[in-house]
Symmetry: C2
Subunit: 305 residues, 2 copies
């Protein structure tokens, strides 16, 4: 339903001269006098993004803000403020609201981010939390998914897979990392990994009109992905597959011109590791390359809306 | 629950130097280079703001945007963009989403407002629609609830009461009117009437540290309020009481210095009528004044969060 609706929306949302970048990327960018305005919104709800009775409300509140900050990071935007709207059960809603805000405010404090209000209501339905984050572009411009060209290297922050073991709630949005990179390096395109490394990379390829070759043995696989692969669960999945498709890693995928990529990998300017995992090519599609140089089509996996 | 939570939030949301105006008014104002950024958010949900199966989805979508535009109007801000997040039922969600957007986009078009994305998800719960609107301040500054002083006249746009007969969905947010007024007149304080004329006026009094005397015979009562009062419903309520307490009129309440008010009432510069209904006084509280000049306490009525 969602992807069908998004296609419908794509045809029905008019262009507007106020857009430097319209909907469809990690955030939209609005023309402003002074720095331009970057805006993104995510709505989390019980049953999918968290499970009432199982999830720690503080972590849910934290996550609701963190996913939006991750979207701003994917644009290399500086966070300015967020608004928060809640739907809460009539019974016990006050305690839930306080816990949600405790987690959310602790993260906001880390990023010096003011909460500029919102809306709070009680109802008989499940918990819903909607956050809109507002950011500013810097003098270095902003990143988009479109812009990768053949020959660009694919660099990623951090490691992938197994976020369900906890990192889906406790990840660090790569805001500082993105601003540091945008200041010192030329990045052609970027996104954050919410749906899945391979699927989000496919989105960059699609937006940029190119394809990508991935060196599977170079993918930084998280310890969580290995742990998850070792669990006696059904279906069994290799750690690499978790890394390629689990999603909610909220790391950055970057399309970096080759000479910049070399400098970046030499510098390793961030607290988190930057890893080369492949490069963009003219030919559409994703391709997996093994150590012997053999390649085969790679079907992008992840959370499909 | 909500008012208790809002008090808790008031103590826990930190001040921030980026706020020209923090949460608690009709919108927040963020310092920006160039025009400042005004942001407001409202979340509508099934069962309170509309009723699935009874409400026209196009009108629901329209309203979700319109209430936010009304908040921007109450700040005399120029609308810039909105983001829209939806939670939809898995069955029939696509058609609902399209209808919501049809109504919303028609209103957005009237106000030349681009929709800068959002988030759409399906679930097993009722329909939720959350809209965040972003505006800009103009060179004439912005209005807040605080700022009314004793002697200021209370002027309102339009008429009040009976919005439940349809105006709650089909009202015109007073964006153009507010910008026109802000350009040509000095307004001390303002709000829009969502909760109820008397209750929203009480909010202005509270924020401004003053009270108000209302001339009940001057209150512009809508034809809908008269119609509603004439219906054989229980409880019976006079048209005036509907005007004072129904809410969702989305008209403006303005605190206007006396000499400006005279000019405004003479000019009648708007398409909608501007009416004098009373004045602010030093003494706290709301007071009803009848034709003979007798006054009695007026208990503010309306939707209490």
């Amino acid at each position: 339903m969602e992807s069908e609706f998004l296609r419908w929306l794509d045809r029905h949302l008019p262009e507007h001269p106020r857009f430097l970048l319209g909907p469809g990327d990690d955030a939209a960018v609005l023309r402003w006098s002074g720095e331009d305005c970057v805006v993104t919104s995510d709505m989390l709800h019980d049953g999918t993004d968290f499970v009432s009775g199982q999830s720690d409300w503080r972590l849910v509140g934290r996550k609701a803000l963190a996913v939006n900050l991750s979207d701003l990071a994917a644009m290399a935007a500086r966070p300015v403020a967020a608004v928060v709207s809640l739907l809460l059960p009539r019974q016990g809603g006050l305690q839930i609201a306080k816990s949600l805000y405790e987690g959310l405010l602790a993260l906001a404090d880390q990023f010096d981010l003011p909460i500029a209000g919102g809306d709070t209501n009680s109802w008989d339905g499940p918990v819903v939390i909607s956050v809109t984050a507002i950011g500013k572009t810097t003098e270095h411009g902003f990143w988009r998914r479109r812009g990768a060209v053949a020959g660009d290297q694919i660099l990623v922050t951090g490691s992938f897979g197994g976020s369900i073991l906890g990192r889906q709630f406790e990840f660090t949005p790569r805001v500082h990392e993105a601003l540091e990179l945008a200041t010192r390096y030329r990045i052609h395109a970027a996104t954050d990994v919410s749906d899945g490394l391979s699927l989000d990379l496919a989105h960059v390829c699609q937006a940029s009109g190119c394809g990508a070759e991935l060196h599977l043995d170079q993918i930084p696989i998280s310890a969580d992905a290995h742990r998850l692969a070792a669990l006696p669960t059904t279906p069994q999945q290799a750690a690499l597959d978790h890394a390629l498709g689990d999603g909610e890693d909220f790391e950055l995928i970057l399309a970096v011109p080759a000479e910049q990529a070399k400098r970046l990998l030499d510098d390793q300017p961030l607290e988190v590791a930057l890893t080369y995992i492949g490069h963009f090519i003219d030919q559409p599609g994703l391709w997996a390359v093994d150590r012997s140089g053999q390649r085969r089509p790679l079907i992008p996996r992840g959370y499909r809306h």
